[in-house]
């Protein structure tokens, strides 16, 4: 008999019942809530006179709309200038108070982007099913979780029933073999994967990332990769549990202790794909060949090596791709054939749930070495993913390194990743960004996003244009 994949194991462990239409009722262990996608769900509960099924499953924090400038932040909710943004944050506070849901409020030292906060606090643990009204929930799969984003009516469904109605996806394994070169990070790995399989490559699948590169990778690196599974078309990305996972979880504030810990660890160590498990789709990539990556266009698959150029239209595989590229050249203000290292940058954004953890900030800081941000760069900001990341970075003196070099050191939140708060690009500005989406207008109307790793973003800030961090 064929063995089970990690996904099969997680699915089976959470199936409450099978439904007549081929879907299943899946039990949800952890539910993360933020201010943008929860208000109507709470209102729905209230209108139907329902209570949350299990309070201890939920944790909330405002992240999308919070200001990151310290002065505004110190004013708390009142410091949010935009009325709609403020109302969303106030509504989250009110709903959490009304329904008795635990919340890390705007200036709590544990507040932050939920996908950073969950693992950091030990609120997300291996083997859990984790959902959140946000597509980058896939991040948590790094801990060997079944984690994915949901819509607002599903948020209400989970609050009311602790379950979701779901259909099982197919299994995909992406193996990255070999060793990464110096200066090549987890972000480059995931961008290279998306460049190869495309933004629809993982559609309908749950992806497991496996192979030597992931076995060697830190937990934070694995989170960066799983985070962008959604950009590869899959709602779910996962990595099997190993010593690195267990060491990461141990001692976290909400992690189990004592006897419960032993019981948990024994269970978590079963969370891997069996040797004889069968995958519907298998992809293999040589990690040794991966160079630092830069996205040049308006889709996360429009990515090339730093040593390359904006592709020529004749390199497109079909007419549809060519058409997309032509549109992207215009939007991005780039010429086909232009060298990536010739792209001048106006702004630098180091942050987002993809790359705002302590290792990301250390990677970026290591590049600085006494140099300063180029005078042509209008603004370079570093936005830690959570209050805890910020404190840790300050304890290590990273904030001073950044500010001495000319970066702004900000308060935690989503910030310029999607520009729901005041942090935005102006039209036609080029930004080296460590976030996950380079869609038209994502970081501000007309803004031009280039997705890169933290080290590449820092190097670009210093040079004023993209440079190969391996030789910088």
């Amino acid at each position: 008999m064929a063995g089970q994949t990690l996904y099969d194991k997680l699915w089976n462990a959470h199936e409450v019942t099978k439904r007549d239409d081929g879907s299943s009722l899946i039990y949800i262990d952890r539910h993360l809530l933020h201010e943008v996608t929860s208000p109507q769900a709470f209102e729905g509960l209230e209108l139907a006179n329902r209570a949350p099924w299990r309070l201890s499953a939920n944790i909330a924090s405002p992240d999308h709309n919070v200001p990151t400038v310290t002065k505004e932040r110190l004013e708390g909710v009142a410091g949010i200038k935009d009325k709609v943004s403020r109302l969303q944050v106030v509504t989250l506070d009110d709903n959490c108070a009304k329904f008795d849901i635990a919340e890390f409020t705007i200036n709590d030292a544990r507040q932050g982007i939920l996908h950073v906060v969950g693992p950091e606090q030990g609120l997300v643990l291996p083997g859990m099913t984790v959902v959140c009204g946000d597509s980058h929930t896939a991040t948590h799969g790094a801990l060997g979780c079944l984690a994915h984003g949901i819509g607002t009516s599903e948020v209400e469904h989970v609050l009311a029933t602790q379950c979701l109605i779901a259909k099982k996806m197919k299994n995909m394994q992406i193996r990255v073999t070999g060793k990464l070169g110096a200066g090549v990070s987890s972000k480059d790995v995931v961008l290279a994967i998306i460049a190869q399989i495309g933004t629809a490559g993982g559609t309908g699948h749950a992806i497991e990332f496996a192979g030597e590169v992931f076995e060697d990778m830190s937990m934070e690196g694995r989170m960066t990769v799983c985070n962008m599974a959604i950009e590869a078309g899959a709602r779910v990305g996962m990595v099997a549990v190993d010593d690195i996972t267990i060491d990461y979880v141990k001692g976290r504030p909400y992690a189990p202790t004592d006897e419960q810990w032993s019981q948990a660890e024994a269970y978590w160590r079963t969370l891997y794909s069996d040797d004889n498990a069968v995958f519907d789709t298998l992809i293999e990539i040589d990690g040794g060949q991966i160079a630092p990556q830069v996205s040049w266009g308006t889709s996360p698959e429009m990515v090339v090596d730093i040593t390359q150029s904006v592709p020529m239209p004749e390199q497109a595989v079909d007419a549809a791709q060519e058409e997309g590229w032509l549109r992207a050249y215009t939007y991005m203000g780039l010429e086909a054939g232009q060298k990536i290292t010739d792209i001048q940058l106006d702004r630098i954004f180091i942050g987002s749930c993809t790359n705002s953890r302590i290792e990301d900030l250390r990677d970026a800081a290591a590049v600085i070495k006494g140099r300063t941000v180029a005078s042509t760069v209008k603004e370079a900001i570093v936005v830690p993913g959570s209050g805890q990341v910020k404190l840790q970075a300050e304890a290590e003196g990273l904030d001073v390194l950044f500010t001495d070099a000319g970066f702004e050191w900000r308060e935690p939140g989503c910030s310029m990743c999607l520009a729901m708060n005041a942090d935005k690009l102006e039209p036609e500005e080029h930004c080296a960004s460590t976030s996950n989406r380079n869609f038209e207008g994502r970081q501000g109307t007309g803004g031009r996003t280039h997705l890169v790793s933290p080290a590449m973003a820092a190097a670009a800030a210093l040079a004023g244009h993209f440079v190969d961090v391996r030789t910088f």
Binding site: V16, A48, S56, A102, T105, S153, A160, I165
Partner: protein
Amino acid sequence: MQAYHVQTGIVCPLDRSNVDTDQIIAKQFLKSIKRTGFGVNLFDDWRYLDDGYPGQDNSKRIINPDFVLNQPRYQGANILLARKNFGCGSSREHAPWALSEYGFRTVIAPSFADIFYNNCFKNGMLPIVLDEAIVDKLMQETFAIEGYELSADLERQVVITPTGEEYSFEVDAFRKHCLLNGLDDIDLTLQQGDAIKAYEGKMMQKTPWIFNEVQA
């Protein structure tokens, strides 16, 4: 969810094809934190001559007297008669919220966009597909006769005209069951409450840490 059995009432004819969700409820109203309050902005672009924005006092707005919803003879209508491909565009559930809050729990059309069709059932509304020729005939009758009323009987799956003609329509048996009994997805899952509790009981032994208290 409110159950649906029979709805009888004045018919409002919306004589255009491909009415999309942007026209049903315009983009600027989606920033709301509510699932209520959209009724006054239903078909905002057509209904008012000035620009609509969230939170404004709608009683002070300039009404478009030509739009059907504003004509005296269609006041109090609760059945919307529309043309083909009604509800195309985005998946926003704000569209059925706006329609039902205005009072339309029944929409009759020759065809509907898929997601909109599904979203109607989720929100206690009945979308009815009738033949294009029949819709056309009903539309003409609505125009001709002031106070024209139809009845939609879900149990019997028929639309009944004032003269007693009946037109039957299809509806998925499961959806019909849910609508007749006022069951939404959450109710259906809660009917499995014992299974959920049994599952939790089992997992409290196997993975007790999942159930630890979470306090901020």
